[in-house]
């Protein structure tokens, strides 16, 4: 498959060799090149060294052993979620920086839910970006799920309030709320997000039941600060990583998994409705090191 990562090409030169300091340094470099970050890369390779140092080891064995180390970190974060289940209406909000894939991920999840027969409502909470509403509307039409919206420039929190009222009145299973992209260092925009969360709590103290932070696989170490900020502001409950169909392998997720006890629900592997997969620690780790 598409394992044309730098890691793969790097490992290919190893062949059969001793797991010595040089090899470990190369491995560390390869992990750094996949965005694990210098510290985590060191930790993972030294953990590998503990068990196998100075042993003859083939290229395939190296990859698998490395994948296992990473899987161990990620496994506790593996958590399949069924949004159509649980409280009614289940209120699910999507947050993240600009262009990370929030709207598309909602579209994909909406399509899945429709197949399962859930009664859902999409809320166009991005009242800022040009054609954000039109984009979500297309996804709503594809999934045959209604989209609730207000004109551009309207107060997003007000829209969300009305949407939840409606979902309660109509006895819907769930509400998927899109929000505008925002960089985590923008105080005003983060305050706006906080307000949206506050408003949903007025109608249901347990809402939003899920706050999904959508991360782009191409992002580097800044993802750590994204998780931190959105967790503090919006009470993130789970993660989705998109764009894993490209050359980026999203290794920063390993660093995030070490630092935060947050489940990773899905990965995005394309732009179409079907391009969403439940997160698998093993599959992700293997793809990361090219051990498929």
């Amino acid at each position: 498959s598409r394992s044309s990562s730098r890691l793969t090409s790097g490992l290919a030169v190893f062949g059969r060799r001793k797991l010595d300091d040089d090899t470990l340094e190369e491995l560390e470099d390869l992990l750094i090149s996949s965005d694990l970050g210098a510290n985590v890369a060191t930790r993972v390779t030294s953990s590998l060294a503990k068990e196998r140092f100075d042993k003859e080891i083939t290229e395939d064995e190296i990859r698998l052993a490395l994948a296992e180390e990473i899987t161990d970190v990620l496994r506790p974060r593996e958590k399949i979620v069924d949004f159509s289940d649980g409280p009614r209406p289940r209120i699910v909000m999507f947050v993240g920086v600009n262009g990370s894939g929030k709207t598309t991920t909602i579209g994909k999840i909406a399509s899945k839910l429709k197949e399962q027969g859930a009664k859902a409502l999409l809320v166009a909470g991005d009242t800022f970006r040009a054609a954000a509403l039109e984009q979500l509307t297309v996804w709503g039409e594809r999934a045959d799920i209604p989209v609730m919206s207000k004109p551009i420039g309207s107060d997003a929190a007000g829209l969300v309030y009305e949407a939840i009222e409606k979902a309660k009145a109509d006895d819907l299973d769930l509400v998927l709320i899109d929000t505008a992209g925002r960089l985590q260092n923008k105080t005003e925009l983060m305050a706006e997000l906080e307000k949206i969360v506050r408003v949903t709590r007025k109608l249901d103290p347990n809402a939003p039941h899920d706050v999904i932070l959508v991360l782009d696989a191409t992002v580097g170490q800044n993802a750590l600060s994204q998780v931190e900020a959105f967790k503090n502001t919006a009470g993130v409950t789970g993660l989705v990583m998109t764009k894993l169909d490209g050359t980026a392998k999203g290794g920063v997720l390993v660093a995030i998994a070490e630092a935060h006890d947050l489940p990773i629900h899905f990965i995005g592997i394309g732009e179409k409705a079907e391009d969403l997969r439940p997160f698998s620690a093993e599959a992700f780790s293997k793809a990361l090191v090219g051990a498929e």
Binding site: A130, A131, E134, D216, T218, K249, V252
Partner: protein, 314 residues
């Protein structure tokens, strides 16, 4: 972060002041810290390695000046080398758009900021250079991509127009239609916004290469997210291999990312970084500023004044 780098370097060089030239051993310890700092800033590993080699050869043998801390002296060397690698202090954000209608082609990964940057460039060219600008969206894939560009064109005022949308046309056909319309309509500039694509999607890479063949752009800009991690080199190289790129645009520089991707992409392509996106609104586009980005890669802080102070004392 800068403070920590500064402190770390300070610690390494403690007791070194006034001891003559910096030895290879002194410098090596410092370079390890700098390596970590650059990696934390998302500079791609191969670029970090080149950079470290470059700095090492400059720093070894440097006389330690009594009045300046060696740590600061090394930081100044690093800072200067960063600026140089980023293209120098006099950045050139001018676009070659003399022969009307000049075509500017925008390309990049999904969600990198192409459409927004297209709107920003149009606004800038129409307001600052009094150009008549036609915008065309060749994005036949993303839902409402064409509507998005049309809305942005409307926000730019009378001198910016978007090509009427015809559903069902191929991207390459839209490119041809746009070129005709630009000629007939007497436009100075035609900006072609394209769909986002991953670089391993052969079909889509072929499409954009074909668009470039048809449109023969005077400028082909790779629009990339400044928050990009180690993948920056791969993406830049792959687009560079398939398109006649003339420059880079780094978006989301208004974030708190350290922006190492700027250095990585510039280093592997040798292309100038023409602009940085610094906001979601149409006025959020700045000419690239190597000093600002170098300071940020080193971790914000008050690097500029610190370095100036060091320079004065040298």
């Amino acid at each position: 972060m800068f403070d920590t780098l500064s402190e770390r370097l300070g610690g390494i060089f403690d007791g070194l002041t006034g001891r003559g030239a910096l030895s290879e051993k002194d410098v090596s310890a410092a370079l390890r810290e700098i390596r970590v700092a650059l990696l934390e800033a998302d500079v791609a590993l191969p670029v970090v390695k080149d950079f470290i080699g470059n700095v090492k050869s400059r720093a070894v043998g440097e006389e330690v000046i009594r009045s300046v801390k060696p740590g600061q002296q090394v930081i100044k060397i690093v800072y200067d080398a960063l600026i140089e690698m980023l293209g120098g202090e006099d950045s050139d954000s001018s676009l070659r758009i003399d022969s009307p209608p000049a075509v500017i082609l925008m390309a990049g990964l999904q969600g990198s900021g192409k459409t927004t940057t297209t709107g920003k460039l149009a606004k800038r060219l129409s307001e600052k250079e009094r150009k008549k600008v036609l915008l065309a969206s060749l994005d036949t894939r993303r839902p409402a991509a064409m509507e998005q560009l049309a809305i942005l064109a409307d926000q730019c005022g009378d001198n910016v127009v978007s090509l009427p949308i015809i559903q069902g046309q191929l991207a390459t056909d839209i490119a041809r239609r746009a070129m005709n319309a630009a000629k007939l309509g007497g436009y100075d500039v035609l900006i072609l916004d394209t769909a986002g694509r991953t670089t391993i999607d052969e079909q889509m890479m072929n499409e954009v290469a074909e668009i470039a063949d048809i449109a023969d752009p005077s400028e082909t800009l790779l629009v990339a997210d400044s928050l990009t991690g180690q993948d920056a080199v791969e993406t830049a190289n792959r687009f560079h291999a398939r398109l006649p790129l003339t420059g880079l645009v780094l978006t989301r520089m208004d974030g708190d990312g350290r922006g190492g991707a700027a250095l990585s992409m510039r280093a592997v392509t040798g292309l100038p970084i023409k602009f940085m996106g610094v906001g979601e609104k149409l006025d959020g586009l700045d000419a690239f500023d190597a000093k600002r980005v170098a300071g940020r890669i080193l971790g914000q802080g008050d690097i500029v004044s610190l370095v100036e102070k060091a320079a004065e004392q040298m």
